[in-house]
């Protein structure tokens, strides 16, 4: 193992594009060392590697595969000595009427969104327990709270994450580890829950703040939750949706 890095160390799953990339960008701007993973590299990843060679690391991993998830966490600990922050962002949407949903889609969404999150959290919580310190944020979704036609599988997985947040907050709180969820509304990212342009325009009209969200809107809330100064808030779901579900 190399000497522990001075910067706070954050793991962000699925950080190569979309919302995850916004979270990585925000944490890098604040001086964090950030390790992210996804199934494939992007141009953004290569840019960060050039800009922050000492405190950015990308690893190809499919966290729905247990061995990949565990290796990603252990490699980060070996590289930087610890994990201060875990942001469980990796997820996949799946759209369709439940009556016509095939097994493959259910497996794909459940395996990544729930099982992948549990695999990474299990491994990361161990290193946080050893140090009695850490902050975990699960990126869930407003559709897990309010529901949306055609997103039953995705909604089920996101509601599951909020349940996991509450249980883990109770389980790990006595060891100085906070666990919260951020439930974004509908974003202008590559994966807006599998919704089409007309659906997104309708959502925009119904949103009090009059627009879809940006990755930066959500990243700011994640940064607040994982800040070392935030030590008395855990087990909560913060909704970031422009007031849509207010």
């Amino acid at each position: 193992m190399t000497a522990p890095i001075e910067a706070r160390v954050a793991l962000v799953t699925g950080g190569s594009r979309g919302l995850g990339a916004g979270i990585v960008e925000d944490l890098l701007a604040q001086g964090y060392a950030v390790a992210t993973c996804s199934r494939s590299r992007t141009d953004q990843v290569e840019l960060w590697e050039k800009e922050h060679p000492d405190r950015f690391h990308f690893q190809t991993a499919d966290v729905s595969v247990e061995a990949d998830a565990t290796r990603y966490v252990k490699d980060t600990v070996a590289r930087w000595g610890r994990i201060d922050v875990l942001v469980n962002n990796a997820g996949v949407a799946g759209e369709g009427m439940i009556a016509l949903t095939d097994d493959g889609m259910i497996d794909r969404v459940v395996d990544l969104n729930i099982k992948g999150t549990l695999y990474v959290t299990r491994a990361a919580s161990r290193t946080m327990l050893a140090r009695r310190s850490g902050a975990i944020v699960n990126i869930s979704s407003v559709v897990g709270l309010s529901g949306y036609r055609g997103l039953s599988v995705y909604s089920a997985t996101k509601a599951a994450l909020d349940g996991m947040t509450r249980s883990l907050a109770r389980e790990l709180g006595s060891r100085g580890i906070t666990v919260n969820s951020v439930a974004p509304g509908y974003l202008r990212t590559e994966m807006s829950h599998g919704l089409d342009a007309d659906q997104l325009k309708q959502i925009e009209r119904r949103t009090p703040l009059g627009r879809l969200g940006d990755a930066e809107d959500v990243a700011r809330v994640v940064s607040f939750l994982v800040a070392p100064e935030n030590r008395f808030m855990t087990g909560q779901v913060l909704v970031v949706d422009g007031g849509l579900t207010a």
């Binding site: 919580s125 161990r126 290193t127 327990l129 050893a130 060891r175």
Partner: protein, 78 residues
């Protein structure tokens, strides 16, 4: 020696956890009637040992250790 270091890690962990303990004999139970670890403390000990040695008997052994001696035996065999 790994076993001696493992014993020292257990002692450090018990001190951190504010556990009262005397001599760590091999047959001393980790749980009721012994060190009285609860499930979270057992998970924490597992994590601390893995952090120090890269593996631990709780997550990689064939059976979960019940006594101090069974924890130490894992490292003795390694």
């Amino acid at each position: 020696m790994t076993v001696d270091r493992a014993r020292a890690v257990i002692v450090e962990f018990l001190q951190r956890a504010n556990k009262e303990f005397g001599e760590l004999t091999d047959d001393l139970s980790l749980y009721g009637g012994g060190l009285e670890l609860d499930s979270l403390e057992a998970a924490e000990l597992s994590a601390v040992l893995e952090d120090e040695f890269g593996s631990d008997p709780f997550s990689t052994g064939d059976t979960l250790p019940e006594t101090v001696g069974e924890v130490l035996a894992f490292y003795n065999a390694a």
